[in-house]
Amino acid sequence: MRPFTYARATTPDEAVDLYGEGSAYLGGGTNLVDLMRLGVALPSQLVDVTRLPYDRIEVDGDGLLIGATVRNSDLAAHAVVRERFPVLARAVLSGASGQIRNLATVGGNLLQRTRCSYFQDVTRPCNRRELGAGCSAREGDHHNLAIFGNTPECIATHPSDMAVALAALDANVVIHGRDEIPLDSLYGHDPVRNSTLEPGDLITHVRIPALDGMTGTYKKVRERASFAFALVSLAAAVDVKDGVIQDCRLALGGVAAKPWRARRAEAALRQAPATVPEFSRAADAELAGAEPLRGNAYKVDLARNLIVGTLSELAGAR
């Protein structure tokens, strides 16, 4: 591991002041410390932000304001999160292990790096580590990589489960000293940048608006029953009245470099009968935009089945 200095911030201004060229903010460290050990992340200074006063979850009307240093385990155990936003609690609980959830923070979770094996292997070319080096995954093993939004430079997926639920919940990200931004804008469209944040930008909270009568859940398909990243996951929430879908939110995980909000499927579902043929039609509308690679076309079927199955379960349809 490359030598680095360590500083601990107790106020957001102090954190931003301490942050300089080569700095990285340290949250739970569950991804960053590992990447430093692998030689992928090479910060010259760590600014520890875990003791900033953002470790609370505040109920904000029918919504929530979640501090960026709240640990994943506390978020998932919070009574209001479990009762009103089970899609979020379930997404967080389906990620990582009990040990890692006790360390990982909300802010760090949003900014974690892809688990593409080539990104994590400094002996293999990777555009995300060094733009212009090439992408080893495109011709290599990419069975677990993206089917939406791929570029010639990168086909990586975003690994977070929590962020998929937050995308479905229309969450905003609050940044110190700036206007809050929709979660979708945090990830942007640059094929190799991890987020649209500028160096030194500090996430302080995540804001979740009310879920207006929708019931939701999170489903995750992976290669073992627990403690694995998603091949495909789905955060879904629907409001069905008299057999007709009033409103719905769908976000897919494991299929793109960011949580993939399935807006085409949502549009196809609004005011449609809550029936399996309609769910299939909506899933097809979304997946028509997929561009699978040689080794991951199975994800198209997996995502379709996951959308249809989950909506059927939520809507009690046959």
Partner: protein, 171 residues
Amino acid sequence: MTEKAQVRIGVNGRAYRVEVDTRTSLLDLLREGLDLTGTKKGCDHGQCGACTVLLDGRRVNACLVLAVAADGSEVTTVEGLASGDELSPIQSAFVECDAFQCGYCTPGQLCSAVGMLDEAKSGWPSAITDDLAESPVPELSAREIRERMSGNLCRCGAYVNIVEAVRRVAK
């Protein structure tokens, strides 16, 4: 600023003050700096759970925690579970159930089980808990124990007996 740091840390009830290289993990501090070799290094990437300790009462992977970031914390390792010669309930249950073969993952399994049982007692749900809003969480089934202990791998495959040992203590 330097790349060394002073760390004050309590381990198994004893207070330490040590100088560390900022790169030192909590795991390496315990094993190399404080000579507490009960905590094991497996993958060193947070994937196997062999290094699990209790940090301020919560189970964590000691390999992913920088010692400098744990300044001011209280750590319990496998050496701190027993009271003298008297084994803790989870340690006794592991012996009774023959819940190990080579034993390398056992310190991590034990600390993880202690942390997990505390989480369950606090009413924390898991990914497979049917009704998340329900509190307290119903009794820990074998399936719940497997899900909640999935951060600890055992390459000997002693899982069946590990689940039984944890289940006995959970009752």
